[in-house]
Symmetry: C2
Subunit: 150 residues, 2 copies
Amino acid sequence: MARVETTAEIGEAESSAEVWELFRTLFGQHRRRFLIAAAELDLHPAQAGALLQLDSPLPMTELAVLLACDNSNVTGLIDRLEARGLVARQPSSEDRRVKHVVLTATGRRLRERMLARVGRPTRGFERLSPDEQRQLGDLLRQVIRDDAAA
Amino acid sequence: MARVETTAEIGEAESSAEVWELFRTLFGQHRRRFLIAAAELDLHPAQAGALLQLDSPLPMTELAVLLACDNSNVTGLIDRLEARGLVARQPSSEDRRVKHVVLTATGRRLRERMLARVGRPTRGFERLSPDEQRQLGDLLRQVIRDDAAA
DNA sequence: TATTGTTATACTCTATAACTATA
DNA sequence: TATAGTTATAGAGTATAACAATA
């Protein structure tokens, strides 16, 4: 394995733009894995995305926010998942306008198969030492926290 | 701002699965930003994705690989981008079966507008100290390298 | 009045299979 | 024979606008 010089060793400053490019590279690779995994399970990308979001029941509107699509799309999307027996609509008892989308047992199994493909760390992450895992974890938590800060 | 205890301070081991979950969180946020940015520029997600890939000219087939979709989809996708004057088909001089997709001046400008929305680091990344930038950069390069290792 | 979810419409995406041109 | 790209087709995704039921 070739030794890779770090920016620290070279003495150059690492810009946030450079780090962002590395992230975009990983994003792209993950997106391709996601699309391939969805196709293997006969799910369209949006369907696979919805299934992954449904860790717990969600109102239609919240699903639309998470999928970053219009409310009206969710109706058809859930119609088709429902027709395949993967989800069910559960009217809310608090607000009769709201319907919660819930995974069926079949839906949960399919979600698990999807997670087996995209929910596990890649080799690159697994090969990090315990100390590096901790470093990376701390840095990512910091990024997520500061991204969320209004 | 509340102080956040790190795993190091707590003394627990950080698993690669935990780190992967943090990455998936960031991936979801980035995907939503991407979809919103594409909609703002009147681009369908696949069109925006293609534009971003076209930093340099690419054969149709390679674009299909990068977009993780069937070859036949790229034909229609590029048809529509071409109809909007964003890209052009350039027959290869080496292999007359191959066509390279090239951005027009208009296409480049639109790509730049897209990059202005998703090609810049988020606040969380910008707020990392120079030392943290270097740490994160080194860790991500290591992950990308080991992911790529056959 | 505002919000949740649906419907109707028009256009785009996506995979499959069959095809043409070139290698 | 194999590969690059296209065409045709069918089903799904997507935004917009208009709508009913509920808040």
